[in-house]
């Protein structure tokens, strides 16, 4: 029994040391995918058909195929392309962490863009018209009227997608990255204590996800104007003159 506990302890310590790798992949691809998704969303409402076509193709391609296949394509496929193999980019493409991040950025940006697109369509037309009616246009309208609503609407699905991404980071282990799953597999190969190792790994993932979803739910609460307790601020006795 005591020996068993020691084993679990040492396994957990080994796994915890792999947590930064998992978090690094998650953070890099999460940020990049969100930025890319914003661009894709903008393309999806563009006037000319070409950007719209690109966005549609991107979504079709990356949502319709397994992420693991995309990772393999990038990691094994690009290694066979001569100008990459012998070019400057090789330093990046030989690195499995980079390849995972690249694949996840492409794949998840497609999902996130769809979330943003849905939220954009759900922003009440009246709000936008009210903005237009008082003379707002372009970026101002986007920043002050559309974006706040859009973010509020998109946040629950976005949180979901982030959780999905956390889980997807485990695919890095299939191309030799020693993230949580990778280390777990390594330990198992040496010890055969399958269940203990996997339970410890599962617990770590659950912990990461619980933390993330708590943070995102808190953010959701902050932004929820319907529920937020609005203090009845007294109207200042003198209003600043409109300039």
């Amino acid at each position: 029994m005591g020996e068993h506990l020691t084993f679990i302890g040492s396994v957990t310590a080994q796994l915890v040391r792999a947590v930064p790798v998992t978090l690094l992949i998650l953070a890099v691809s999460g940020v990049c995918a969100t930025v890319l998704a914003t661009g894709l969303t903008a393309m999806s409402v563009a006037r000319s058909p070409l950007p719209r076509l690109i966005q549609r193709t991107w979504t079709f391609l990356f949502r319709g195929t397994p992420l693991i296949l995309q990772i393999f394509m990038i990691y094994y496929g690009f290694a066979m392309v001569p100008w990459i193999r012998h070019g400057l980019l090789w330093a990046a493409f030989r690195d499995p962490v980079f390849c995972t991040c690249l694949a996840m950025t492409c794949c998840c940006s497609a999902y996130i863009a769809e979330i943003f697109r849905g939220a954009l369509a759900a922003v009440p037309r009246g709000e936008i018209e009210a903005g237009r009616a008082c003379g707002m246009t372009g970026f101002l309208l986007l920043r002050r009227v559309i974006a706040p609503s859009l973010i509020r609407i998109a946040l629950p699905s976005y949180s979901n997608e982030i959780i999905m991404m956390t889980k997807s980071t485990s695919l890095a282990s299939t191309i030799t990255v020693l993230d949580i799953t990778g280390v777990a597999q390594q330990v198992i190969a040496h010890s055969y204590r399958t269940l203990d190792v996997f339970c410890a790994a599962a617990a770590l993932y659950l912990l990461i996800n619980a933390t993330l979803s708590t943070l995102l739910t808190a953010l959701e609460r902050r932004l929820d104007v319907d529920r937020a307790p609005t203090p009845l601020a007294p109207i200042p006795p003198t209003l600043e003159p409109l300039s």
Partner: protein
């Protein structure tokens, strides 16, 4: 170019037969795991909605864990864990060791277990979306629970649930690629082997992507029409 066509053809050096077989196996694994997921998902949803306290909590924990842990980890756990479990069981009971569980079964089971967690949420939400008055109107007319389920719940749940189930199916289809790690030669594994032995990864992964796209597009079209049919009464 000629080279590529030979590799993808049906000739002695061609991979077409194996790739097509891989496609079928992918479909079979996905369908099996979907079925496992639906059966278990309905049970879990029932447990969450109407089960006694301990069962409700168990179902809740099941959902949280299976939706929060990477699918790959679940597959690996079953693939590595089941044999040792079976081995220790057969030792305790003095059975003859039955050997390794077939990868097909392990694969479908692990994807199915995850699928069940998602499907349970969908079914629960679907039943929750039906206004209470619908049940009351039925009960007030003497419907039994079973009849109420069959005539009132099922048709309406089908409408809410079909698009979401379509999503789960897409995820099943893509998750089935992870089963490649168990050595089952479904589409992903076949393309991996082909890529490795011919040293044409771009070609074979590209073909595999195209085949996955065909599978996902066809099935999403099917779900779209299924959804429209089950939804015919909702178009004002």
């Amino acid at each position: 170019m000629m080279d590529d066509l030979t590799l993808l053809g049906f000739g002695p050096d061609g991979w077409a037969p194996l790739l097509l077989k891989g496609c079928l196996l992918t479909l079979a694994v996905s369908a099996t795991s979907m079925a496992i997921g639906t059966v278990l998902g309905v049970l879990l949803a029932w447990a969450r909605l109407k089960g006694p306290g301990w069962l409700r909590r168990t179902a809740l924990v099941y959902g949280v864990v299976l939706r929060g842990v990477p699918e790959l980890l679940v597959i690996l756990l079953l693939y590595f864990g089941l044999p040792s479990l079976i081995l220790s069981l057969s030792e305790t009971f003095g059975w003859e060791a039955p050997g390794l569980p077939p990868p097909f079964l392990v694969g479908s089971l692990s994807v199915g277990l995850v699928s069940a967690a998602y499907q349970a949420e969908i079914f629960r939400g679907g039943v929750g979306a039906i206004p209470r008055g619908q049940f009351e109107a039925a009960r007030a007319m003497g419907f039994s629970d079973l009849l109420c389920f069959h005539r009132i719940v099922l048709p309406q749940v089908a409408r809410v649930v079909l698009p979401a189930l379509g999503n789960v199916w897409q995820f099943n289809l893509k998750d089935s690629a992870l089963i490649a790690v168990t050595g089952l030669s479904e589409l992903m594994r076949t393309s991996l082997v082909a890529a490795g032995s011919t040293r044409h990864p771009f070609l074979f992964f590209g073909v595999a992507m195209a085949l996955y796209l065909v599978l996902t597009t066809l099935s999403s079209t099917a779900f779209h029409y299924g959804g429209r049919y089950s939804n015919r009464w909702d178009r004002g």
